[in-house]
Symmetry: C2
């Protein structure tokens, strides 16, 4: 057998097994205890990690070298054997199996080789979506409305009942930016029925105002919204993300960098948040390229897991409303359950919902939700591209949603998160220099802390069979899947202690 | 049955039939004539279009209204029933079946419900790619090198043996732009080992030079490269694509707008091309934001099917080489066989290959090919994002490539294109005002002409059972699939004549 065939055969066996052992249907109305439900989340998982070789091992090294001939491998974290990965466990080609609390940069919701998703991926509808990929703006499938309503829109955040679909978080954000610019210019012009002037038409073709608007997007320092040219201009995470790339002269406000533990710094943190709000208002009022929108993450995820209070976000929303600037919430990394709410901004209890909310990653599908019909541009083909998303990923998101609801995984994650947070809080008391600024209390498993030797911390974690990611300068960010349970938390916490107590 | 179930059942039947009637294996070495081979391209196609209702019919209208509640439908061309579409024929929910020479904006290579692709879409490898979507930069699958080498790289253009994968044409182009900016700044800095200065690091975070480079991409008027913020700044197709969106002040050169028939305007066209080249050189030398790269389409596809001679492109390549500006060829629409070469720029016979070539659409996968190792940024995480492409689409492209090679579809398309061009040339002689500036001779089926009442022309085509697209202000662009045969050309030509001879 050729290697490819061998892999296919292996994978066929693996998938057949997975499908043959379906997760037993759990229902909200049964008397099953949380523990019993939890037990059903994923069958076939190992009891814990297995480490057989150094990582990377010999096989991984060989394969990485082959890959490097044609593909840049310098950001490679770990070559992965997906056919052997299962549930919360990620496998490599050397037989190492790690508990994965990074989950493809927070993008796997329900575990590797999830039987329900394998089922969805094997349907005729999925096969058709793969081979007959539509240009969604021109030739949507007759059942596209049905797929949206029974999938993506079933979890639409409160108040936002429309969607523009996109390919990934970055272009979801750029599409939202475009909607904001068109919306603002339409207001300035006097409404949707006012035609473009000849000067606008002509100057737009030369990339000049008034046709190309002189407007900006206000974002926050240490925020991350993507790496395309528009989003990169709003991304302020690290120089390595931005160096050498031309950027728009758009404004940035300081994100409140709170002090921990929160309960010991209440007054100070309130002042930090107020200062940030004042800066936002000042920039809205004075920046030489006026903001059409403010974009913010509920938790700054790439920038180091920076949290702010619900009160801060409510006031930020009010500020944008006051100045007639649109409010875009970027839930690319925070969305789909990990914070213990389906969307993290549900923690804020907003009376006035965001104008747009973008999503991707664990949703697998991407795009932005909105409500105001005026956010649909006034003419066709203004918000358009060939594919405008991918029905393959819309079908998968629908299956993910159904599984999340069937197993009540958002509430589950809230509970497991509390359990995990409590355990790490214990570690932080024991090793205060190693688990600093613990954050994410009451935010599901979206937990992080700072470590003075973070990069080494992550390397040691791998040796102990745990795959973890970092963010910002010194944060260890936990991004377990929604099927992460107390038993996994125990393994993780055990390893965290070993990391800081062994050389 | 719910509508969704009914659709699934229908679609299951349809796919089962498709798989049950596999295309007989054709081999280059058999004595089969081209016609016999051609007959095998697609089984189960109807003999011609069927028009049962006005388009949109009552069912389409009802479904469109439902879709419009949640999704902008103003760019909708035709609601499609993909389960009933087959080969070159696209179906709608009202039972209308049209010959499709638009093919999802030139993005379907091998026909709807192609049995070979259905097979590829049903493999365990595909299912795994759907449910275990990797963050390709961090956690590529152990067989990613194998998949690249046996797929995407098997058709790498001459001289370009590396690839960066992306999601669609637009971000493929932006990724190429980023590579160009980093490359140029590295040269200016003195090489890959020269570290960034503190000033660069700091200013990059403020979107200011020197960290954010003051460089540009030179593109051509009437060109199209996408609608994200960087690519939109190089797109110069129509105001409606650009209005209200902030843009970089980047330079544009005039694309040679040749006069037809070419043989009657040889000297004039040569002068037009030289003037365009002079303008490019002038802009490279004088534009206040120096170009790091020139991007060009082999045939300007959205901008109206504007062609230039191989000589023009060879000289353009030489010019970029002379001034040390990178040369990016955008084959998003022209690539994958439709011009009678796998990549359209093979028509130019370049001795010095492009620095980068971008692809998407009919490839289904997207990205850019390159050769120079210096186009890999000097540090990891500079050219990075979460997904960096999609293995689902890489697997599909591999299957598309295998089918193209098995059936020799590029040469087939060159021949069918000549046949079709000859027929339309006949129409152009008969109706010179209706088929103006016929272009695409020797360019496979990538054929276009201008019509004085173009939009109405397209509407009438639909009534006659032909789905055609327009481009630019007055062009009718033909974008048949690679399985388009003489029998389809006859149906098309027949309809084209009816369009211009009936009210």
């Amino acid at each position: 057998m050729t290697p490819a065939l061998r892999v296919a055969a292996l994978s066929r066996r693996c998938l057949a097994q997975a499908v043959a052992r379906p997760v037993r249907a759990a229902s909200y109305s049964t008397a099953a205890s949380a523990t019993q439900l939890a037990r059903a989340f994923f069958q076939g998982e190992p009891d814990g990690p297995t480490i057989k070789t150094a990582i990377p091992g010999p096989e991984s090294k060989k394969l990485t070298q082959e890959l490097d001939e044609v593909f840049d491998t310098r950001s490679l974290n770990m070559l992965t054997d997906y056919t052997k990965s299962v549930g919360n466990y990620i496998a490599d080609p050397d037989g190492n199996v790690l508990l994965d609390v990074y989950a493809q940069i927070a993008s796997i919701a329900l575990g590797y080789n999830n039987p329900s998703l394998i089922k969805a991926a094997s349907t005729p509808a999925m096969v058709s979506a793969i081979v007959n990929r539509p240009a969604l703006g021109n030739f949507p499938s007759h059942d596209w409305a049905d797929l949206l309503k029974s999938g993506i829109l079933k979890v639409a955040p409160k108040g936002l009942n429309n969607v523009f679909t996109a390919m990934a978080g970055s272009d979801a954000n750029e599409t939202a930016f475009k909607a904001a610019f068109m919306y603002r210019r339409q207001l300035e012009r006097g409404g949707p029925h006012v035609e473009f002037t000849q000067e606008e038409l002509d100057s737009s073709m030369n990339n000049q105002a008034p046709g190309a608007s002189n407007l900006s997007i206000l974002s926050f320092k240490t925020g991350f919204h993507g790496r395309l040219f528009g989003t990169l201009s709003t991304t302020r995470s690290k120089p390595i993300h931005k160096l050498d790339i031309p950027a728009f002269d758009w404004p940035q406000a300081t994100f409140p960098l709170l002090k921990y533990p929160l309960e010991e710094h209440a007054a100070e943190n309130a002042a930090i948040e107020q200062a940030a709000l004042d800066e936002v208002e000042h920039l809205i009022k004075t920046w030489h390229i006026p903001p059409a929108a403010v974009i913010v993450e509920p938790i700054q995820s790439e920038g180091g897991d920076n949290h702010a209070s619900p009160d801060f976000f409510r006031k930020l929303r009010a500020l944008t409303r006051k100045h007639n600037v649109l409010f875009i919430v970027d839930e690319v990394q925070t969305g789909v359950g990990a914070t213990g709410k389906f969307w993290a901004h549900e923690h804020w209890d907003l009376q006035d919902p965001p104008d747009m909310m973008t999503f991707s990653k664990k949703a697998q599908a991407a795009g932005f939700y909105y409500a105001d019909p005026a956010l649909r541009p006034n003419k066709p083909y203004r918000q358009f591209n060939t594919w405008m998303g991918d029905p393959v990923r819309a079908i998968l998101f629908k299956a993910i949603i159904e599984e999340i609801q069937r197993l009540d995984l958002v509430n589950h994650t809230a509970k497991v998160g509390d359990y995990l947070y409590g355990k790490i809080e214990g570690l932080a008391r024991k090793y205060p220099d190693q688990f600093k600024n613990l954050r994410g209390k009451g935010q599901g498993t979206f937990i992080a802390f700072d470590n003075p030797d973070r990069d080494n911390f992550l390397v040691k974690a791998k040796k102990l069979g745990i795959n973890i990611g970092g963010s910002g300068a010194s944060a260890v960010r936990l991004r377990p899947m929604l099927i992460f349970q107390e038993k996994h938390a125990d393994i993780l916490v055990d390893a965290l202690e070993k990391i800081v107590t062994t050389r």
